[in-house]
Symmetry: C2
């Protein structure tokens, strides 16, 4: 298929596809002549993944390129490819290391991991970007005067453990390693809005249950 058909079947405009090609989010097609290339189903699939990551997952273009590169990195195994891809995802602003609240938050987060027994590699985890994201969020809550200690966090973390089991069960349904890694990234990113919207809906439901009938 050529550019116009790729555009039509994906719903992405041709200038945008050209932009993605330029940014190397999409591999170049097979060159037919000096002015034409042939694209296959794998281009369509990749394009849809790129779109979903950028539009639904809100991932910056340069970051998406790194995530996709990690998915395809043949020098890494299964588990490490997924780790590299997740590490490349956006994680919000870095924690302010000069702030004492950050140091306290880091202690709280470390204590939480110990309580959970997530210690497959505590040094690696504590240097990871999701851990930094957690530290920054705890510090922000602390700044606002909302207590956020391990007692508050533990139930959330237990829920997260359950979610991870669901996620990995889904991933293991895919037969090939490539399919599993791609699925892991796609499901990590695309289930985030699912989870957040369900939480907001559940909060509305619970709020109505508790406060709803009083006016």
């Amino acid at each position: 298929m050529r550019l116009a058909e790729l555009s039509e079947r994906s719903g992405v405009s041709t200038p945008t596809i050209k932009y993605y090609l330029r940014e190397r989010l999409l591999p170049p097609g097979r060159r037919i002549t000096a002015t034409q290339s042939e694209y296959g189903e794998e281009h369509l699939r990749r394009l849809r993944l790129v779109r979903a990551l950028i539009q639904v997952g809100r991932i910056p273009v340069t970051t998406a390129r790194e995530v996709l590169a990690a998915i395809e990195d043949d020098s890494l195994n299964h588990h490490h490819r997924l780790g590299a891809a997740v590490e490349a995802l956006p994680h919000g602003p870095e924690a302010d290391e000069t702030d004492p609240a950050t140091a306290a938050a880091r202690r709280t987060a470390t204590e939480l991991l110990e309580l959970l027994g997530w210690r497959f590699n505590l040094e690696v985890t504590a240097a990871s970007r999701p851990f930094g994201m957690l530290v920054a969020a705890i510090a922000a809550l602390d700044h606002l005067g909302y207590a956020c200690d391990t007692a508050h966090l533990l139930p959330y973390a237990r829920q997260a453990e359950q979610l991870a089991v669901f996620d990995l069960d889904l991933v293991e349904e895919f037969p090939t390693p490539e399919g599993q890694v791609e699925a892991a990234v796609a499901l990590t990113v695309l289930y985030e809005p699912v989870l957040l919207s369900l939480r907001r809906l559940a909060e509305a439901e619970e709020s109505n249950r508790r406060f709803g009938t009083d006016g």
Copy 2:
């Protein structure tokens, strides 16, 4: 306190505070003279909330203004103020209504709400922005070929129910209605990065448990 002190105690630069004043994210101070105003502790508190919403919660400035207005809207009660504030939060791109996948996603989401028994007001819920966010995310997963039916979603939704109970328990610890509404918004927004980072950490842990030792 005056501008310089507000800046120092909040860690926000004076030009940025002026910008927030201009954008009405922060109420004006009490005018002392033609060129000076006095700010109180409530300004400091509000400023920290604004910062947390924008920097940690990644909420656009104009959206933050609407959220804050909803918190303070005296014409609404407790529950509806929270609803209005959550409704004002960003929810990602709208679902493409011309896409048949969107219609299918909407059916799936509606069926899910029925299964859950979240039917305090199904028409209202189905028109809400979190519901639209859920529909868009399901449609995106469908586009990528990842099955996302009620069987897959139900465990996530059950987890979300649990989370909402924790959240509302936390909210009810605050004594005043104003404090509760502000806490509900702050906790809704600021626990999102907590939840997402914990999920990513839990996935890394679970991935290691399943695939980690094979190389």
